[in-house]
Amino acid sequence: MNILKVPLQIFRYKPGQAPRYDTFTVEIPAAAHVIDAIDAVWAIHDQSVAFRRGCHHSSCGSCAIRINGVEKLPCITRVADVWDGHDPLRVEPLRNFPIVSDLVVDVTGLFQRMSAADMSMICEAEAFLPFTVDTFAVADLDPKLVELPENFSRFSRFEKCIECGICVSACPTMAADEKFLGPAGLAAIHQARKKTDDPVRVEHLLGLANGEHGVWRCHSAFECTEACPQAVDPAGKIMALRRELIARRFTKMMGK
């Protein structure tokens, strides 16, 4: 097995201390991903390194960071693909979010924006579940249809988007404007709009996007679409929302 000796330059920050970079050298298999290298740093060198990791296969969106300045998911990014073989591999937190500690950022803003669309989405597999518990033979519970709890939508997720925040980090407008809904928020609005025919709800969703800090604040940098690891194409969704908003304005003007 090929082993790589990788110097990892990690951004460090703890509250009350000045930010700095620490470099650690770890030995990892050549086929390993960047998250494995960060794991190795934590396990072998410094357990105070704070970072998020989860599924290791780009489903949870937890581990998003910047690798050599570019937003990526380290769980699907091989070290060999981003390391030139000698210079330290630089690893930093996402931009445009407050830093909590080292590579961990406060993603409240992301979820706040996405929940503005109040969108519930049920994966196709879940829709076919009978929601009984007889399969699971849980004691005390009769096999019967379990009613969905009232706040079920809190647990639902967006189809392609894994809510990793990479698009927000890449967006130049997000860097300056705290009021901007951002690529993730606007893509969520677009997704919610596609999933409903209720005219009142459509009107509301489009209304959310129609403000000065909605679709119109986007400056077409397209960095979000470039950086997205899941091909959500937030920029395309923003442009589609714009097209619909303009079409509606036009028909209103024509008095239809």
Binding site: P172, H219, S220, A221, F222, E223, A235, G236, M239, A240, R242, R243, I246
Partner: protein, 105 residues
């Protein structure tokens, strides 16, 4: 990212130029002598060189602006990168031709 940065930089540059140009036009109010002196200065090669810069800004901002208008209406979003390349190439070619014409005046 380049498209965004270039559009912003050229935009700011052009606003500055706009107001400079408007101020210069006040020389018209000082009569023929003042204006004709300005025209002589404006024909000097240094000013002409600056004019080439101005034209570069106009071409990049204008053509990229058209690209942004198109993609902003949802047209050609998938081709946005290619469109930017086209914008820069057309700008460069036009600038080259215009620069030759300008320095022949």
């Amino acid at each position: 990212m380049w498209a965004y940065a270039l559009n912003r930089i050229t935009g700011i540059g052009l606003v500055v130029y706009l107001y400079l140009h408007l101020v210069v036009l006040s020389l018209l109010l000082r009569g023929q002598a003042a204006w004709d002196v300005f025209v002589t200065v404006a024909r000097s090669p240094y000013v002409l060189a600056l004019d080439v810069f101005l034209l570069a800004g106009i071409l990049i901002h204008g053509l990229n602006g058209l690209r942004i208008a198109l993609t902003g209406f949802g047209i050609g979003v998938g081709a946005q990168k290619a469109l930017f390349v086209v914008v820069m190439v057309v700008s460069a070619v036009t600038l080259w031709v215009a620069a030759i014409k300008i320095f022949r005046i």
